[in-house]
Amino acid sequence: MSVSSMALAQTLLNGALLGCLFGSIALGLSVKWGHLGVADFFHLSLTLLGAYVTYSLVSEQLWDPFLTLVVTVPAFFLIGVGVQWIFLALKAEAFTALLITFALFMVTESAVSMIWSPDLLNLRPMLADSFTTSLRLPEPLPQLAVQPVDLLALVCAVVMVGVSAFALGRTRSGRAVQAMRQDSEIAQTLGVRVVPLTLAVSGLAASTAAVAGMVVALRMPLSPSLPLQWIGAVVVATMLGGLGRPVGALVAAIVVMMIQNAWSLWFPPQWSPAVAFGVLFLFLAGGPAIRFVRESMTARRLA
């Protein structure tokens, strides 16, 4: 099948923008995994929950979607704090924590289908045409289309990732988080209040799920099993980007989705979910392979 360069450009653009959404989700996962040592699958459920709450507030209370953040962001902060508090109270090991988040992941799916029905919910028909109609990029670019909601995803991703990266790298609290991640005991002897800091990080990570959830509600129809569809791309992006690195997670999500989309343009689309894992595999296998080649070349040179 011949594919025009225009179609390719459009595919890559779509992939990049969807990658922004997945990057926003991966952000929280990456921060919690990298800095608190918890691979928190519940974060995906929180994103879904954020989407459903947004849906209800918009469709039933007729709130502006952005106004919902006033409710969801603080509420999710508290949920994030609560979950982490449970881990601390139970003195949960990484594996126990993983099991707990997985259990919460399953429970949320059932709870969501009970509260909102397992049926498909779609906010789109309620959105103004100006928000659902695609925009054409200006003339020099070959007439590519973007959806306003994707631009919103882009803005949210860049702002959240930017703020997180800045906070982690440049602020006092960010340094405390990094110190804690490297050696919690040392951080404590240096005066870092590990417990409140851990709770705050978990709370803030959960807050990002509220924002990502709002974008999800505006972007796609909701069903309780959505997180299962995100999990591949999000986990791969988290790992590829380097645990605990916000910018890495976003860039990786964008790259993975671009590759995945471009793949489906030429190859059977049903394989595209596997592409993300393929990229991760190449990345994981590629490192040692390159090292091996380099070492054997040096060895030969020395011999």
Binding site: R170, T171, R172, R175, A176, Q178, A179, Q182, D183, E185, I186, A187, Q188, T189, L190, G191, V192, R193, V194
Partner: protein, 242 residues
């Protein structure tokens, strides 16, 4: 005036009693030496004072307040800082970031920029000025030990706990270290200073304590302690520099 007072401090690890009813007191402006054979409980005592380990029994008072149950970061804020026998720098931070972390969260907390500036003066003080931007992995053992001291100083403590900071250094490095420790007093700090080398301790310390198998063996002026027959016995009757 008494700054730190440990009374009947006991620490058990399962069946092992690492400390049994140990008493120790440090006065303001004092350098106290803490010696004892391997495994006598010196590091453990230090950890209970810094809060890294909870005590099994006994009390610890600092500046007139009971801190027995305080968290390590509370004690850091109250003015206690420590080093580790095996240096434990934060591996992905640069040398100055390691020290700045102590400045930021220590006794008087400060912003990152101020902390970095202060970290540089502390590094100058311990002679690591030119390594400020280096990765910690590139440091030699003696530089790591001095980084450990610098990071403890960075908290601006009233009491600094030094765990064998001079062990494994060559004589000229050790001399530099002794000078540095002596200077801490002039900066308003009291010091507990663990050392294997009893001679080295005796030249620096105002008073010293000897632990043996987790118990107080002797304490007093260095000259008196070194003459104590029990101390000589504990070090197998051998020369005092074990």
């Amino acid at each position: 005036m008494s700054l730190l007072r440990c009374t009947g401090v006991t620490k058990r690890f399962g069946g092992v009693t690492a400390l049994a009813e140990v008493d120790l007191e440090v006065n303001e402006g004092e350098i106290v030496g803490l010696v004892g054979p391997n495994g006598s409980g010196k590091t453990t005592l230090l950890s209970t004072i810094a809060g890294s380990l909870p005590v099994s029994a006994g009390t610890i008072e600092f500046a007139g307040r009971d801190i027995t149950r305080s968290t390590p970061h509370h004690r850091a804020h109250a003015g206690i800082s420590r080093t580790f026998q095996v240096p434990r720098p934060l591996p992905s931070f640069s040398v100055e970031e390691n020290v700045a972390t102590g400045c930021m969260f220590g006794r008087d907390s400060m912003g990152r920029t101020a902390a970095l500036a202060k970290a540089r003066t502390v590094l100058e003080l311990v002679g690591l000025g030119e390594h400020a931007g280096s990765e910690v992995g590139k440091l030699t053992l003696h530089e790591r030990k001095f980084l450990e001291i610098a990071r403890a100083i960075a908290l601006d403590p009233q009491l600094i706990l030094l765990d064998e900071v001079l062990g494994g250094l060559n004589p000229s490095e050790a001399a530099l270290g002794m000078e540095l420790i002596a200077s801490l007093r002039t900066r308003g700090m009291s010091v507990i200073y663990i050392e294997h080398n009893v001679r080295a301790v005796s030249t620096l310390a105002d008073r010293m304590y000897v632990l043996n198998q987790g118990r107080n063996l002797a304490h007093g002026l260095p000259a008196d302690v070194l003459d104590d027959p029990r101390v000589v016995e504990a070090y197998l009757g051998g020369p005092t520099d074990a």
